[in-house]
């Protein structure tokens, strides 16, 4: 009852000086806006990586030609020529945990033409297993078949974007398009996959049989990468180890020489992403935290000024029977109420800001209830800490102050 009355007194005091209350809030509002947006962005980035890994498949791993650990980048400079189609076949044959493989050759930036229309896009040499390993087949017509590979057929499957660029709404199946200097017959349209996590349009791809890519178009005998799908996701580590040993043996790599290929597992991708994002987020949270601390300092100082202005009022409260604790409590409530209200406003504005940023810059932002709770806890904490010194000073004011003019 008494506690409730003192809480009420605190709120009335805040209401009596709205300008000061508002000024105290501003710093906290700004700090919490920053914190909300930073955490949303951080969690958004994390979710994006998770989504990417999930789409790739938790039961799959990727073998790329070339060493190093750079994520999702084609090896620059001289291409690594040591990863061969035979390696892929050997993996499927010899590693027990492997269910299926899909070797690919990537040719970025190839010119594709139909009649007077042309576009530049990535062309992939693929095996029929691509469709099952990537869960990505033809929406219309047919995907590349075993016969196509055997016959080194000049057929292709095109993405919906390329189809639109070259054919508009017309049916492309059976039509001939030119890729580089070779004519291909369109036999299917790929299922739409949308934008890749890296930002590229996956729907503009053109797929041709692996053998055709090797012999007719690129004239090479090495491949870019192999996606390996396991029978059981739990065997990821073991399978990765077996594949590494097998490839090193096949490539006759002496001990101590770094791998001339890289194996990327979903676990590694998440781990790396979390490490990078974690450091970045920590930095941003630190920045937001500093602005919140600055907000706390403002609250503390304005409260101290408020205490000196209210010496007479505090003296009076003590003269009529308020104890030290009652006064301390009232001022802590005042500080905490200000910062918590500021925090709630900050969260609301921060969430709105995150949504706007997401819409404008396409940066994924994840707004969750954890952010709301975190913001509320942090802003209350700031008020509680900022309020300690002013509350103690207020409590030490003597009742005789009420009598001074």
């Amino acid at each position: 009852m008494k506690t409730l009355r003192i809480v009420k007194s605190a709120f009335k005091s805040l209401g009596r000086n709205k300008l000061r209350t508002f000024l105290m809030m501003i710093g906290v509002i700004v700090g919490i806006i920053a914190l909300t947006m930073v955490v949303s962005a951080g969690m958004g980035a994390r979710q994006r990586v998770m989504e990417r890994v999930r789409k790739f498949g938790l039961d799959s791993l990727m073998i790329r030609a070339g060493g190093g650990q750079m994520l999702g980048r084609e090896s620059g400079g001289q291409p690594t020529v040591t990863l061969k189609l035979e390696d892929a076949e050997a993996i499927k044959r010899e590693v027990r945990e492997v269910a299926d493989i899909s070797p690919q050759i990537h040719r970025p930036q190839m010119e594709v033409k139909y009649a007077d229309k042309s576009t530049t896009t990535m062309v992939l040499g693929a095996m029929p297993s691509f469709a099952t390993v990537w869960d990505w087949g033809a929406a219309k017509g047919d995907f590349i078949s075993e016969e196509d590979v055997e016959n080194v057929a000049r057929v292709c499957v095109i993405g919906p974007t390329t189809r639109k660029d070259l054919f508009g709404e017309a049916n492309p199946i059976g039509e001939m398009i030119r890729v580089g200097s070779v004519q291909f017959e369109v036999k299917g349209i790929l299922v739409a996959k949308g934008t890749s996590p890296a930002g590229g349009d996956m729907d503009s791809r053109v797929m041709i049989p692996m053998t055709t890519m090797m012999r007719r178009l690129a004239n090479i005998d090495y491949i870019t990468n192999i996606k390996v799908r396991l029978k059981n996701a739990k065997d990821m580590k073991k399978a990765a180890g077996s594949i590494q040993a097998l490839l090193r043996e096949r490539h006759q790599q002496a001990p101590g020489v770094p791998d001339d290929f890289s194996i990327i597992t979903p676990g590694e991708v998440t781990e790396t992403a979390e490490k990078v994002a974690g450091t970045f987020n920590l930095f941003l949270i630190l920045v937001a935290g500093i602005s919140l601390i600055a907000g706390g300092v403002v609250v503390s100082n304005l409260m101290l000024i408020s205490v000196s202005e209210r010496r007479k009022e505090i003296g009076l409260r003590k003269a009529v029977g308020a104890r030290k604790n009652n006064i301390t409590f009232q001022f802590l409530i005042e500080a905490t109420a200000v910062t918590l209200t500021g925090g709630i406003i900050g969260i609301a504005l921060g969430v709105a800001g995150a949504k706007i940023l997401e819409a404008v810059t396409k940066t994924p932002m994840a707004v969750s209830w954890q952010i709301v709770v975190l913001g509320a806890i942090f802003s209350s904490l700031v008020g509680l800490i900022a309020g300690i010194q002013p509350a103690r000073r207020a409590a030490s004011i003597q009742p005789i102050e009420a009598l001074k003019p």
Binding site: K2, R5, K12, V320, G321, A322, R323, I400, A402
Partner: protein
């Protein structure tokens, strides 16, 4: 002996003791006040009369000597215990009213009850406002009230926790003549209902309304007499020109 509400024994108050700026505000004051008395403490400014009142009212502590309130030794109590004593036993009225600004009359009157263990504080505050004749003004802010009305709100605040004794420090110091008599008349009525009143003033005319007058000079009691014929503030009000009583 137990009808003594205040007992002061050889109280002394020294500011900045031992320094060159040492000031002795109260020297060796002993004083008893019985329940139901109406005492005026008189003296010029700087005489130490307010310091005496502050010590008796537990707002300040004596440097030496003892103060007993309602038989209980209070001069040695810790701050929080003194707060409790002030909350239960004492009501204060100040020269400058000391009402919280931008706070209604009712809420101002409720203030001592906020820190008590009582329930139903709104009802008690309304009763106190009624006792000073301001129940119509309960939702007015101090700025909307006249000086006399503000002081009556302050008296309601002093009454609301049903104290044994009311200390009033120059309650008429900021008021015009009519309001002064209204306030004094209110004190006389409260005294008639049995409340002990201690009034500090430097105006002899105001002091003449009390039933006992104590004169303080240079920190000592120089006179302590019974006022056989206290003036009635009610009569005084009637004598004032344009006497129609405003409500």
């Amino acid at each position: 002996m137990n009808d003594l509400i205040v007992q002061a024994q050889n109280i002394q108050k020294v500011y900045n003791p031992g320094k060159t700026s040492e000031v002795v505000a109260v020297r060796d004051v002993s004083l008893d006040i019985r329940k139901g008395e109406f005492v005026a403490i008189m003296g010029a400014s700087g005489s130490g009369k307010s310091t005496v009142m502050n010590i008796l009212g537990c707002l300040d502590r004596p440097t030496s000597g003892a103060v007993l309130l309602d038989g209980m030794e209070v001069s040695g109590l810790p701050d929080d215990e003194l707060a409790k004593v002030r909350n239960k036993l004492i009501g204060f009225v100040f020269q400058s009213f000391n009402l919280l600004p931008r706070t209604t009359a009712l809420e101002n009157v409720e203030l001592p009850l906020v820190y008590s263990e009582r329930a139903n504080i709104g009802r008690m505050a309304r009763m106190a406002l009624e006792a000073v004749g301001l129940n119509q003004r309960d939702h007015h802010y101090p700025g909307e009230l006249s000086g006399g009305e503000q002081q009556r709100v302050a008296i309601a605040r002093a009454l609301v926790n049903e104290p044994e004794i009311i200390f009033a420090d120059e309650p008429t110091g900021n008021l015009d003549t009519r309001s002064s008599y209204e306030v004094i008349s209110l004190f006389q009525k409260l005294n008639g209902l049995g409340k002990t009143i201690v009034l500090v003033t430097h105006e002899p005319d105001i002091a003449e309304h009390a039933r006992r007058i104590i004169r303080v000079s240079d920190g000592r009691i120089v006179e302590d007499r019974v006022n056989e014929h206290p003036k009635s503030a009610e009569d005084e009000l009637r004598k004032l020109p344009g006497k129609e009583v405003k409500e």
